[in-house]
Point group: C2
């Protein structure tokens, strides 16, 4: 008997308030890294009606106009009119950065602390994942949820649907049969809009111009479309909902198709393993699947603050592996240096490359900055596995 089930993931556009916060945090990280890539940065952002708060810990020699970076980010997203949810020109921006705690710094800095290597910037657990549901080796539901909101933003910015406004959320429910996606059961799209357009016209444009062009046609059979189901979405952005950095961590990763360790990414320099080790986890898992060693691969790593070596590494392939999970774990330890400094070198992370990551997913992206998406370990892994 075949086994059928539904699985759902969601995404949000760059105008979603939590994503506005993420993008401001990463724009500030990039502005700092452009001048001083040795900086320690934990930049958190809160945005609400007319207000942006920048807080967290920053130790740097860079000289950055934080307020201007925040305003420019809000402008780039498209919030240039208070009627849209916030106006980059007129909102208040409060800056309350402190320095990194010297007690933490002594644990992280190379040559100081208990472990003389560069220690992990925090304790924690991180997961990496890949599967062969899409060519990018991403779970299909989150992949297509991203494409919908990305297209919403394109059609807004190039003026094809001028009544679109920046804030939007998508959700894709896939039907699986025997572990493989075979159809799209339901698509939800809520998009902010100008008050002049009728709901009927929003529905039609959303389905025909935003959603259908980015979904596989063969999966659209009896698909249900739920468009702006509140019936009205004129108020949006930080005015409709308070945004905080790090509050879209499932959208940022695998859409719930894999577990999450809980650590957020945006605003954090890569000495923070929450970010760098999650990127490394994706790199490991993707190379294993790309090498044909498994159809699905998940890795968990964990760290103690101030210590370089991970406290645990676990690799699972859910029965899809060409070699045993234990052998695969061995291969991973041989081919990937998962100490904080090793990760930074392996993925070349001390660069101002983070603003792009802060919307439409940190994984499954093809831009060159996303070094953790490279599959350059495939040949070495296959050779070691004897394939």
């Amino acid at each position: 008997m075949s086994n059928e089930y539904l699985f759902t993931s969601e995404s949000v556009s760059e105008g979603h308030p939590d994503k506005v916060a993420d993008q401001i945090s990463d724009a500030i990280l990039d502005a700092i890294f452009t001048q001083d890539p040795q900086s320690r940065v934990a930049a958190e952002t809160l945005c609400n009606t007319g207000l942006v708060v920048l807080a967290g810990e920053v130790t740097t020699r860079a000289n950055v106009d934080y307020i201007n970076v925040a305003r420019e980010t809000i402008k780039r997203i498209g919030y240039d009119n208070a009627d849209f949810g916030i106006d980059y020109k007129s909102c208040a921006v409060l800056v309350a950065y402190d320095k990194q705690s010297p007690d933490i710094a002594q644990g992280v800095d190379e040559g100081r602390g208990v472990d003389l290597e560069q220690g992990a910037g925090d304790q924690g657990l991180m997961f990496g994942y890949a599967c062969n549901e899409t060519p990018e080796l991403m779970p299909a539901a989150i992949y297509y949820a991203h494409r919908i909101v990305e297209r919403q933003s394109q059609l807004r910015k190039d003026g094809r649907l001028p009544w679109l406004r920046p804030d939007a959320k998508s959700q894709v429910t896939l039907k699986y049969v025997d572990g493989k996606p075979v159809a799209i059961d339901t698509v939800v799209l809520s998009t902010q809009h100008s008050p002049d357009i009728e709901q009927k016209d929003i529905h039609e444009a959303a389905i025909e111009e935003i959603i259908k062009p980015v979904l596989p046609a063969e999966w659209l059979k009896n698909t249900r479309f739920l468009i702006n189901p509140t019936g009205r979405f004129v108020i949006g952005g930080p005015q409709g909902d308070c945004g905080l950095t790090g509050r879209k961590i499932i959208v940022d990763t695998y859409g719930g198709a894999a577990p999450h360790g809980g650590g957020a990414f945006s605003g954090k320099d890569p000495s923070k393993v929450d970010r760098s080790a999650a990127y490394a986890g994706r790199y490991v898992a993707k190379n294993i699947v790309a090498a044909g060693l498994a159809e699905r691969c998940q890795i968990q790593v964990s760290y103690a603050i101030g210590i370089a070596k991970p406290t645990s590494v676990m690799v699972t392939t859910f029965g899809t592996g060409k070699i045993s999970d234990e052998k695969l774990s061995q291969l991973v330890l041989e081919h990937f240096d998962l100490r904080p400094k090793g990760i930074v070198q392996m993925l070349d992370l001390l660069r101002p490359i983070y603003a792009k990551t802060a919307a439409y997913g940190h994984f499954g992206r093809e831009e060159p900055e996303f070094t953790w998406e490279r599959t350059d370990k495939v040949a070495a892994l296959r050779a070691s596995a004897g394939l």
Copy 2:
């Protein structure tokens, strides 16, 4: 051949800055609900050196002194001296609540909007989980990680270890053989402390008085203890690290032993399915395991904003079920009303019960307020399953 692996989860104490933010958000929700349980609340908090920001959306008839609720929460946690990381008496508290967007309200309110039933307060996906690793039917790693930081707080508050300060983090790495936990491989504990105590004394007290008393003795074989691995943790709380509501969502739930939908809990009234449907998911999964219908059970539900009926429900038992996952899904739909209003009634959620949930986990708790931990559907489920 037996299959061995390591799995890691973490927890944090009530003095951790993200948890300070969560507790302020839920204390404000409770203060509002005490006066007006029909309120709509999305209370976000940011706390940093000397500063607390209260923002989000609140629509209520209650008259609450928000600043005082925030200060009292910080005091209760134990931050009554600026040397500890923040002082409840002297910190700045900024209040920037807006009202719930009327466009959202029309989708959520009963009798308005597209769906005349009470609609979900947001789209999104939520997971519920239970397994038989502990009597509370929780994954063991997160369960014991909570117990360690809970005991840190006890020994601090009752004065037995007077040099302890509020901020702490724990991490537990379990060794599994053939899918069952058999030993504790590593325990990490970082605890804030007064400057007067030696690291050597911290190590000894942490291992002997905090950690060992709460862990199963038979699992402590060759266990590695990493205590304050930065070498110093005097600066802590919101001074050491900026805290935000909703940034400990894996600590709040299953420690990474199950996926997460991404939605945070604290500060949200139960019309927000991020919270109420995740509680309902735990209730469903726990009752299924308690009924002996499976050793492990995971449920995913998803919603569209403004619509009452879930857009998808998926139940999995990972091959441990007494009946098929499809039959079990049927049983779930028969025995549990997963519409927003049904959940609120089933779990009696319109009460000021949330402050307690905001530290040491929302699940696996035995206090009477945690209605989602009741196993009162066991008999009915067994009968329907023919057991």
